[in-house]
């Protein structure tokens, strides 16, 4: 199977093409085809994981097709350990996401079509080894979001206040169109920065190539690196929710429909962090080492500030969205440590947070679909009528606050250990504090929504999880626990990649020489 990666990547897109041929009225067929596409990609990812030689590490399963040789653009697909972990995450999230959006009623054909195209883009980013293709897939993954939120999203009102209250005249802050537009524009500005960085790398690569392996082997002049790294950091960082460019995330995730929130917070935000790691840290390591303290300091702000913001929210989706901002801060913190523990933790946190937040959004979607409100103050005692939802929500909360036995703990622990061992040990302090604030807000939300006297009136007959809705809680919930108890499953892949790339870092070589 020399084209396994291409197949995995293309399966959702092919399913989308098949969808085009299916009349929009045969709704079951639409869903089944989408599910098949998603399942094939998941199976492909799992197969990739089994084929990947963890002991060997590095890039494997290479698959090259030249596209524009004159500009040095090739469709070069290969996967490293990080890619394997993130492929698995993507596969799991898209399968559960399709199942969770079984009940989408409005323009369902287009919905699944866009969803599948988007996922193909995500897969592409994780496996492309050509910068140009990487960027292309990145855009494919980011842009459908505009339509997915703008058409299938939900709106609410945000009162005008503050020094910039006058801008409310121009925008309907809180509406889905606003959210979609803000998200797209902010991410596009980020993309512009990435594009500039990309061409800088291309023109300084000597060979005028986008091939990432060649770029890795190139030692860029330090001046170029110092321009490229901040562009990459902020460009990809916007998607990873780096403070202060995170504000698209709460509105976007709150407005997006369930599966889109799952995918976006669960997988797409990881594209940003993956970009910073794969391009920023690996391709321009010298500037990265110089910028790392700033990246880490901002990440620390993300962790604590995101958690505090989440603690102040009254809307359930906003809580989860801000918690994503906080948790992505942990990822960025891990990246900034520039040591094995930190990087392993960062990638592990990507997976852990992806699963956790996917579970969160799936459950929030369930609750919203039934209760028609997201304001937590209006809810109460839901555990009486939907105990399964309550149970899995609690599980997601626990992973969110980093309880041992869940994937969140392993990830956060490694990141904090990496931070403590790194150049700025104090980073661990706000990091851990952020985890505490997380405990406060998730458990408060959990208590308000699910505990208390049995609900009356319109909430008295809310249904618990039904049929396909079981998929997301069951799969994601059990994965959280499995990865919490048995980190080796993923960590071997991640570590193989981290060790390989860390060899490029000058400071690491130094540190290894010092410690026995």
């Amino acid at each position: 199977m020399s084209h396994l990666l291409a197949l995995t990547m293309a399966a959702p897109a092919l399913a989308a093409v098949v969808l085009l041929a299916i009349p929009g009225t045969s709704r079951t067929a639409l869903r089944v085809v989408s599910l098949i596409g998603a399942v094939i990609s998941l199976a492909g990812s799992i197969w990739v994981a089994t084929l990947y030689d963890r002991a060997l590490g590095g890039l494997q399963l290479l698959d090259t097709v030249p596209l524009v040789p004159s500009l040095g653009i090739h469709l070069k697909l290969a996967v490293d350990g990080w890619g394997v972990a993130l492929l698995l995450l993507t596969g799991v999230i898209i399968v559960t996401g399709v199942l969770a959006s079984w009940s989408v009623a409005k323009r369902d054909k287009e919905f699944f079509l866009l969803l599948l195209v988007l996922v193909s883009g995500v897969y592409g980013v994780f496996i492309s080894q050509d910068l140009f293709i990487f960027f292309l897939f990145y855009e494919i993954a980011v842009l459908p979001m505009y339509l997915l939120i703008g058409i299938w999203g939900s709106s609410h009102k945000v009162p005008s206040a503050g020094p910039f209250g006058f801008t409310w005249k121009r925008f309907e802050v809180g509406s889905r169109e606003y959210a979609a537009m803000k998200l797209t524009l902010m991410l596009l500005v980020g993309s512009a920065a990435i594009l500039v960085a990309m061409f800088l790398l291309w023109s300084n690569s000597g060979a005028r190539t986008f091939d990432m392996q060649v770029l890795e082997a190139t030692k860029f002049p330090i001046a170029v690196q110092h321009v490229v790294f901040p562009l990459v950091w902020l460009g990809f960082g916007t998607l990873a929710g780096v403070f202060p460019f995170h504000t698209w995330s709460p509105d976007g995730h709150a407005s997006a429909p369930t599966a889109v929130s799952m995918l976006h917070a669960g997988v797409l935000m990881k594209l940003g962090a993956f970009g910073v790691l794969r391009i920023g840290m690996v391709l321009v390591p010298d500037a990265a080492a110089w910028w790392a303290p700033i990246v880490g300091a901002v990440a620390v702000v993300n962790v604590l500030y995101g958690a505090l913001c989440a603690a102040s929210q009254k809307d359930l989706k906003y809580i989860v969205a801000y918690s994503s901002v906080s948790h992505m801060g942990v990822v960025m913190l891990g990246i900034a440590t520039m040591n094995a523990a930190g990087w392993n933790g960062a990638v592990y946190q990507m997976v852990a947070h992806g699963i956790m937040t996917g579970l969160f959004f799936a459950l929030v979607g369930l609750v919203y679909e039934r209760a028609h409100t997201r304001t937590i103050a209006k809810m109460g005692g839901f555990a009486h009528v939907m105990p399964v939802v309550a149970g899995f929500f609690t599980l997601a909360c626990l992973s969110s606050l980093g309880l041992p036995g869940t994937a969140g703990f392993v990830a956060e622990f490694m990141v904090f250990a990496g931070a403590a061992k790194g150049a700025s040990p104090w980073w661990a302090i706000p990091g851990v504090l952020g985890a505490f604030v997380t405990a406060v807000y998730v458990l408060r939300a959990c208590k308000t929504i699910f505990w208390g006297p049995a609900p009356v009136d319109e909430f008295a007959h809310l249904q618990d999880v039904q049929r396909t809705e079981w998929a997301a809680p069951l799969v994601l919930g059990s994965l959280l626990v499995v990865f919490g108890f048995w980190p080796k499953l993923l960590l071997d892949f991640i570590d193989a990649a981290s060790q390989g790339y860390l060899g490029r870092l000058p400071i690491v070589a130094l540190a290894q020489a010092v410690t026995p």
Binding site: D251, P404, A417, P453
Partner: protein, 599 residues
């Protein structure tokens, strides 16, 4: 079977039970089968623990086995495994035994719960026993931390078992938050230890400064988990949980995990005299403070809860004095008699359907067996000579003798008096005196209820005599010697009881009740924490939320607004008249050409 296998069986058996119940929801929803599965798990654990003990008595050495858990470059960054030695084995037996007793008791006590809730209750119990065993057998601090957090989780879920009650929900969350707040110390301690020694072993010997940091941070977690002043406020609230839960988690085992941690990490604490000094004082203050508050409680469970705080204070003080074994010994005896007391209290509550001491009275005649159990427990707790509590408490007090300051020693002696005094009050109010209206319908529960009382009464009476053996297991010295302290302690406990009889026989009140009640109901500590939470956390959070929405996002909106407004202004240039465009094109050409010319 090898000791390692046995230890794994002892640890994992409840986990298997919990997993079965979690996955096979029909089993859980049926109720009774869940109880049997859980009991089976606990029984297997206990059996394995006993087999380990037998092997050890036969001369088996310590057993230690680890596997890598988090690997980095093929090298273990963190390990998990088991360690069976003179500390963990007795603890394992105590935990399994008490857990089994409590679970049996629960079958009767929770009988009226709907099957689903009943099943959930026992699932959580299985989960708890697994978590607690993880703590007990952990070979390093990281695994101990993992188990530590997991018992915190089960504590949270069990306190919130009656989640329909807002008070229970609040108490559960509060308990979790307070312990989580303290647990940050644990995590920081682990990180400091990891950075300075590269591992999580308590046997690693870092420098004195590092040791002080690590132990100080670990002690923070102990303060939270073992409900020491000023983080004790969650424990009384935790009594919202079912009474057997209070017996198991919030009296016998989970809260003692803090003490267990210090006992385990004794090599580290030995390097940090500063931390020990703090522990000595915190423990002593908690012992007295909680004993005073226990004096004025009207809820039978709250009396016992404050008493637990107070006794944990004893243990922490002993640890602070450097006598880890004294603390551990008291932990063991306390686990038995406090579990006994709580279960007996549960039996009383089951009989009178009230927690309030005012609804009780004269129960001696209606509940003879419960009364006997309660008396045994109380006397043991009070430290009356001959009972288990006497030996361990005496050891604690002796360990404080000859310290730099005599004040902690005196405080704990005073607390011993207070302990006897409030237990006397409890006994008299609940079991002696006039038969109250509610009491008149009381009757003993079935054998599932009384059986555990009997089983637990035996070690409450006699476990004090095992001190010598226990000491050899953890290579400490222990001998009962007749000195000033044992005599004084005996006198204190007897005086306390006597004073209680004098004061409360006629339905009197404790002296200074007024002041103490004020201290309790308007608990300064509680209100300080609530204020810190509201202002410090929620206030800052709202501020952050406002800033994010209206300043940071406002700036983003402002950027968009500027673009739109700028576009609107620029649109005036767009007259829609071709001739204007023609001119503009000309201007553009002119500018470009001029640039080209002038260059």
């Amino acid at each position: 079977m090898s000791p390692v296998t046995l230890a794994i069986v002892a640890t994992v058996a409840p986990a298997v039970a919990a997993l079965l119940l979690l996955v096979l929801s029909p089993l859980r929803h049926r109720g009774a089968p869940a109880a049997w599965v859980t009991l089976l798990g606990s029984l297997v654990s206990l059996g394995a623990a006993v087999m380990l003990l037998v092997a050890r008595l036969g001369g088996a050495p310590d057993a230690r086995a680890t596997i890598p858990w988090i690997e980095e470059r093929g090298r273990a960054m963190a390990e998990i495994g088991i360690l069976i030695d003179g500390v963990s084995l007795p603890m394992l037996i105590i935990v399994c035994l008490v857990a089994l007793c409590v679970q049996v008791f629960s079958i009767a006590y929770m009988h009226d719960e709907p099957p689903r809730a009943f099943g959930r209750y026992f699932t959580l119990h299985a989960l708890f026993l697994f978590s607690m065993n993880v703590v007990v057998v952990s070979p390093n601090l990281l695994q101990l931390f993992a188990g530590w957090e997991l018992v915190g989780l089960t504590s949270y879920l069990l306190i919130g078992f009656y989640f329909a009650k807002p008070a229970a929900a609040q108490a559960a969350v509060k308990a979790f938050w307070m312990t989580k707040l303290a647990d940050m110390g644990f995590l920081f301690g682990l990180l400091v230890l990891y950075v300075s020694t590269g591992g999580f072993e308590w046997t690693s010997a870092p420098s004195a400064t590092v040791a002080t940091w690590v132990t100080g941070l670990l002690f923070l977690a102990v303060v939270g988990k073992s409900a020491q002043f000023p983080l004790h406020i969650w424990l009384p609230d935790a009594m919202e949980g079912p009474t057997p839960v209070s017996a198991l988690l919030h009296a016998a085992t989970m809260v003692a995990a803090g003490v267990f941690l210090v006992v385990r990490a004794d090599p580290l604490f030995a390097l940090a005299p500063g931390t020990r000094e703090v522990m000595l004082w915190v423990g002593s203050i908690t012992a007295v403070f909680a004993a005073l508050l226990a004096l004025v409680q009207h809820d039978i469970k709250k009396v016992l809860a404050f008493s637990t705080c107070s006794q944990l204070g004893y243990m922490v003080a002993a640890l602070g004095a450097g006598q880890a074994f004294a603390g551990f010994f008291h932990l063991g005896t306390h686990a038995f008699f406090k579990a006994l007391l709580f279960l007996a209290a549960g039996s009383v509550i089951h009989a009178v359907h009230s927690n309030s001491l005012d609804d009780m009275g004269g129960l001696r005649k209606k509940l003879p067996l419960t009364t006997a159990a309660f008396v045994i427990g109380s006397l043991s707790l009070a430290g009356v000579p001959g009972f288990a509590g006497f030996f361990s408490k005496d050891l604690v007090l002796t360990s404080l003798e000859g310290k730099a300051s005599w004040i902690p020693w005196a405080m704990l002696l005073g607390a011993a008096f207070l302990t006897a005094f409030y237990m006397g009050r409890l006994l008299i109010k609940a079991f002696w005196g006039e038969l109250s209206e509610r009491s008149s319908h009381a009757h003993e529960g079935n054998v599932a209820m009384t059986g555990p009382l009997v089983v637990l009464a035996i070690p409450s009476l006699a476990s004090g005599f095992l001190g010598g053996w226990l000491a050899t297991q953890s290579s400490a010295q222990y001998e009962l010697h007749l000195g000033l302290t044992p005599v004084l302690a005996s006198v204190m406990s007897l005086a306390g009881l006597g004073a209680a009889i004098l004061v409360f026989r006629k339905g009197g009140q404790a002296p200074f009740t007024h002041v103490l009640e004020k201290l309790d109901t308007f608990s300064v500590v509680d209100r300080t924490w609530a204020g810190a939470y509201r202002i410090g956390l929620l206030g800052v959070a709202s501020l952050a939320g406002w800033i994010d929405r209206y300043l940071i996002d406002g700036l983003i909106n402002f950027t968009g607004w500027s673009a739109l407004e700028g576009g609107s202004s620029a649109r005036r240039l767009q007259t829609g008249l071709v001739r204007d465009y023609a001119l503009l094109v000309t201007v553009g050409v002119l500018v470009l050409v001029l640039i080209g010319v002038l260059r």
